[in-house]
Every structure is written in structure tokens, then in C-alpha cells.
Amino acid sequence: MIKFNDENLAEVEKLIQHYPEGKQKSALIPVLHLAQSQFNGWLDVPVMDYVASLLKIEPIEVYEVASFYSMFNLKPVGKYMFEVCHTGPCMINGSDKIISYINQKLNIGVGGTTEDGIFTLKTVECLGACGYAPMMQLGKNYREHLTEEKIDAIIDECRGNNSDTINNFNKMNA
């Protein structure tokens, strides 16, 4: 049975309170974020149906939203997603090289996942870090000013660690 853990259930209750009565559908995107983080990083149909029942909306209302936004994954992904930006400003600063380095190092193409299910490589459009290019999103945070050495270190960090450390990585750009 698909069900949110208690913490997420409490969070859903809280989210619904942010909107006027009867407008609980507004909580859909935040609730889908919660669902994706609890259920292995992607949104399977039964998960979306569960979200629909929680918010008392039709399943189709959930599917159409989940398929619109690029942060929602409708297929399984690796434990760590390297989301490398390749829009103009990052391209100018060498994002192509970073992408091909990851291709070669992990032996996966863009959109691919390593056989052990640990890494997925994705290209994304501008993430608002253009001055700190090239960059990628990893979990909650950004990794910026990427170099081949930094990619090596990040891969080692992921291999040796659990997702908590990745998500608590807290770098600030001064």
C-alpha cells in the first residue's frame, strides 16, 4: 500500500492550511515534491493516484501537472541525479566539456542511468547560477564552478556516502 510516512502526512495537512477552504488543489505541486522524495525519486501512477485521493482531486489533474514540470520524473532515476545546465551562459563557460567528461567517466549518455542504478545524467536549462558556471544540481543543492577534478570528487562522494550528506551539503556563494 502506498502511503506517506507520518512526517509527510503532517506536512500535507500543514500545506493545505496555506490556502482558502476548498482550494486544497493548490498544494498539489508541493505534495508531489514530497511524494517524489519519499517514493524513490520518481512518480509512478499509483503514487499519483494516491496524491489525487489525498487532495480529493481527479487522477488526471495530477498526471497533467506531473507531466508539465521538468522536476517531476515519470520514470525511475538513479539515486543521484547530475543535472547539468547547458544553456548559453553555461555553454560559454564550458558545460559541453563537463557533460562529455561525465559521459565518459560514468559510461552513460544524457538521460541515461548507470547499470548499478546509482547515477543519472540529465541536461537542464538555466538554473540561475550563470555567474558560477559550469554548474549542476545535485539533490537539494547546486555544485558550481565545475571542473573535471570536481566531478571526480563528487562521484567519489556519492559512491562513499548516503543521500543525507548530499542533501545537507550547504555551500554558499559569496
Binding site: 496555506h18 482558502p20 482550494k23 488543489k25 493548490s26 498544494a27 498539489l28 505541486i29 508541493p30 508531489l32 515534491h33 487532495l55 482531486i57 489533474e61 497533467e64 501537472v65 508539465f68 514540470y69 521538468s70 522536476m71 517531476f72 547547458h86 544553456t87 548559453g88 551562459p89 555553454m91 560559454i92 563557460n93 537542464v124 536549462e125 538555466c126 538554473l127 540561475g128 547560477a129 550563470c130 555567474g131 558560477y132 558556471a133 544540481q137 537539494k140 543543492n141 547546486y142 550547504n170 554558499m172 556563494n173
Partner: protein
């Protein structure tokens, strides 16, 4: 030295926390505003000359004046923190380092608008910033700046955060409202404007992060003092996010009296072009605005110095000028390929089109394909005219301005860099390994620029 109104305190240790922020005089604008009449505050904002910092530069006080006030219907204030225009990363800086400044500005704005609930809609990828803002919201509430009867004034206000999930189009205000309602980010047909029918069909004001933060210094220092900073209809200070091939990429708060030349070459700002290279071109206001070759960037077609403000950057219209836009300043050096750069931007707009209007949905994909071909050395001369034709058919024929935003970069690239496109077509092998280079772009203006 440029005066700093927004970032003056950004480097104070611990300023992100409530105690330090308050200790530095934070929230004083709320104390002042709650003793004023809401209409007086709107008047102050009008007098300040503040123009929206989200890209369009619409006068903020006027926008607030349009807000409908039907009896018994709630009004909403929504902060647009979707920041997704390539080249733009200034709102991120404000929220990351000065979260309380945004909250303070929003409380004053909400009071002026008579709004008891506001939302900050932040792009989903700024996940760690959501945590920073949530902490600041909790602190503000614990200290009585949010909630019921704020400072005993009788004014109630709640402020909530909502994360998006990866869609540039949700920065367009009506798409943002759709998204806030839990739907796909499809822009609405206007009118009705949000000021009349916005969030859940209630009157709504949508403003950019930087716009709402600027309300704080306006109330603190007075509209008159604020309006004296800057020049003409570009009052106050502007945050510029500078990136590309420069020595010092980052966020700069500038008075809009600085020249473009000073901004690029001075050590106070970008510190010149990186690696001793030469300036080739620049997109001065986020990826949607026209790219300019170096000569037209530093000086207008009339040969006058160009300045970092709304009027000067648009001098010459689209034929020879550009726009201040969102303040996303993208600098390209002599080694950059205009075709490739234009291709990545076309791909961006195709990726972000919501698909509602056929000129935008089909046109962006078509332009991307043609540009990719030219970049790959597979283009034909007729492709250049075809591109021109497609962009013209998109512009002005769509529900929201994303169509225009996709058309303009392509139009400007062809208008100013046509020879580079032709060179690609004529040199299908060479263009894969070599760059066209600087050509005459950096020379003093010597050709009458057509179109």
C-alpha cells in the same frame, strides 16, 4: 561609488538571522508604514518612480493603483521568485543572503494593498533557499511581524512559500497564478489582468523579489530621496547579475548612471574581459533581450555613450538598441560563436514553451532545428532568411510574451551578425573547428545598421 540600498548590509555576519537583521535596523519600515494610511504608501511608491524589476519595468505604484477593491473579496500579493530567465540570478542572492529584507518589503506592500495573505512563488530548483526563507518566515512570525494584529495595528497578515517544479513559463505572472492554483503553467489570456482577476479570481498584485525589497528603502528614506538616485525614469538602484566571459561574475547593485563601458571594464564591477580577450557581444538584460555587438553596446548608433538604465539601453529601439530587462548581463568574448549561442537559447525557448499557441510551439522547435543545422555545418543560405521569417511570424501572435522572447534573440543575432551565419554556411567544415572571431564588431560604428 554606487549607493547601496538593497545590499548595503548583505555582508554583515549573520544578517540572515532575525536577531542580527533587526539589530541592524531591520523591520523599521514596517513600524513606519503601519502608522501611515495604505493609500499614502501607494502614493509614496508612485512618487519614488520605482519600476518593476522582473523584466518589463512597469511602474510599481501604478500597478498597485490598478488593484480592484470589491467589498468582501480577499486581495492577494504574490512575490515572483521564479527567476528562470537565462543570465538572471539576482533574486537568488537577495533571498539567500537577505531573506528578511524580502519579507519586510512584502509586509509593507501587503499593508498598502490591503492584502491579508501573500505567497512567495519560488522556482523549485532553489530548494536550499526555500529552507532559508522558511526559517526567516518562522522567525518573523515568532517576533510578531506576521500573524494577527501586527504591532497592535489591527492589520493581519500571513505569508506562505510555494515551490515551483521546473518551468520557466511560470515566471509569466498569469502562468505563475495557474501554477499556484495547482495546475499546469499555461498563461491566461489578458484581460482580465491579475489586478482584477488573479489568484482564485481575486484581485492580485504580482511583483518581482527585487521590486518588493526596494519598497523597504523607499519607505525608510522617503520617496523623494529615492527618486533622486539614478536618472530620468530609471530611479533607485538596480541589481545586475553579470556572467559570461568576464573577470568578476556576480551580483552588483548599481546606480543607473553608470556607463556600460565602466560596468564591464571597471574593477568596481566586472573587471574586464577574462583572459585578456576582447569583447565581442553582450546580452544586457537576460536572454530574451536583443544581443548587441560591442560597438553598439558601448555607444548608441548616434555615437553617444550608453548607460546601464532602461532608457539608454533601449536607445535606438530594436534596430540598434536592446533592453535593461531583468538585469541578466551576459558577456561574450571574441572566441564565442553567435550561432551556437543563439542555438542554445532557441533550444531553451522550445523547451519552455507551454505549447498553447501554435506559432510559439511550432516556431520555437523549427528555429532550434535550423540553428542546430547551421551550427553543425549543414545549413543553407536560405535558412537564414527562413529563420528571419519564422521569428517574425511568432512575434506578436501569441498569448503571452514568451513567443516574443523566443523571437527577439534570433532576430537580433541575424540583424547584427548575419555575416557570421553566412560564414557558417560557406565554411561547413571549418566552422566545426574554428570560430568566426571578432570581425568588425568591436570597431567604431562604421556601417549604418539596417532594419
Amino acid at each position: 561609488m554606487s549607493k547601496k540600498l538593497l545590499l548595503a548590509k548583505a555582508h554583515i555576519e549573520g544578517i540572515r538571522s532575525y536577531d542580527v537583521y533587526r539589530g541592524e535596523g531591520g523591520y523599521s519600515s514596517v513600524e513606519k508604514a503601519l502608522k501611515m494610511q495604505p493609500a499614502e504608501i501607494v502614493e509614496e511608491i508612485k512618487k519614488s518612480g520605482l519600476r518593476g524589476r522582473g523584466g518589463a519595468g512597469f511602474p510599481t505604484g501604478m500597478k498597485w493603483g490598478f488593484l480592484a477593491k470589491p467589498e468582501g473579496v480577499p486581495r492577494y500579493l504574490v512575490c515572483n521568485a521564479d527567476e528562470s530567465e537565462p543570465g538572471t540570478f539576482k533574486d537568488r542572492y537577495l533571498m539567500e543572503f537577505l531573506p528578511h529584507l524580502l519579507i519586510e518589503g512584502m509586509i509593507v506592500s501587503a499593508f498598502a494593498l490591503g492584502s491579508n495573505t501573500s505567497y512567495i512563488y519560488i522556482r523549485g530548483e532553489y530548494h536550499w533557499i526555500t529552507d532559508i526563507l522558511q526559517k526567516a518566515l518562522d522567525e518573523a512570525k515568532q517576533n510578531g511581524w506576521l500573524g494577527k494584529n501586527i504591532l497592535g495595528s489591527g492589520f493581519d497578515h500571513e505569508m506562505y512559500l510555494q515551490r515551483g517544479a521546473g518551468a520557466y513559463i511560470c515566471g509569466e505572472e498569469t502562468a505563475l497564478l495557474e501554477s499556484l492554483e495547482g495546475k499546469r503553467g499555461n498563461p491566461r489570456i489578458k484581460p482580465p489582468f491579475p489586478a482584477v482577476k488573479g489568484l482564485w479570481d481575486c484581485p492580485t498584485v504580482v511583483n518581482n523579489v527585487e521590486t518588493l525589497a526596494a519598497v523597504v528603502p523607499i519607505i525608510n528614506e522617503g520617496a523623494e530621496a529615492y527618486s533622486k538616485i539614478g536618472i530620468g525614469k530609471s530611479t533607485g538602484t538596480k541589481l545586475i547579475s553579470a556572467c559570461g566571459n568576464i573577470n568578476k561574475p556576480g551580483i552588483y547593485e548599481i546606480e543607473m548612471t553608470e556607463s556600460v563601458e565602466e560596468f564591464i571594464y571597471s574593477d568596481r564591477f566586472c573587471g574586464g574581459i577574462a583572459n585578456g580577450k576582447k569583447l565581442k557581444a553582450c546580452i544586457p538584460g537576460g536572454s530574451s533581450v536583443p544581443i548587441l555587438p560591442a560597438n553598439l553596446l558601448l555607444n548608441t548608433a548616434k555615437g553617444e555613450k550608453r548607460y546601464m538604465n532602461f532608457e539608454s539601453l533601449s536607445d535606438g529601439g530594436f534596430a540598434t538598441g536592446s533592453m535593461l530587462g531583468s538585469g541578466g548581463f551576459i558577456v561574450l568574448d571574441e572566441d564565442q560563436c553567435i550561432v551556437k549561442n543563439t542555438y542554445t537559447l532557441a533550444r531553451f525557448y522550445r523547451h519552455e514553451s507551454c505549447g498553447q499557441c501554435s506559432p510559439c510551439r511550432e516556431g520555437t522547435g523549427w528555429m532550434e532545428k535550423i540553428l542546430k543545422n547551421i551550427d553543425d555545418g549543414k545549413g543553407k543560405m536560405s535558412d537564414i532568411d527562413l529563420l528571419w521569417d519564422i521569428q517574425r511570424k511568432i512575434e506578436g501572435n501569441t498569448i503571452c510574451p514568451l513567443g516574443d522572447a523566443a523571437a527577439w534573440p534570433v532576430a537580433a543575432a541575424i540583424r547584427h551578425f548575419r555575416d557570421e551565419f553566412e560564414w557558417h554556411v560557406l565554411n561547413p567544415e571549418k566552422c566545426l573547428t574554428e570560430n568566426y572571431g571578432l570581425a568588425h564588431y568591436a570597431d567604431p560604428i562604421h556601417v549604418a545598421v539596417a532594419v
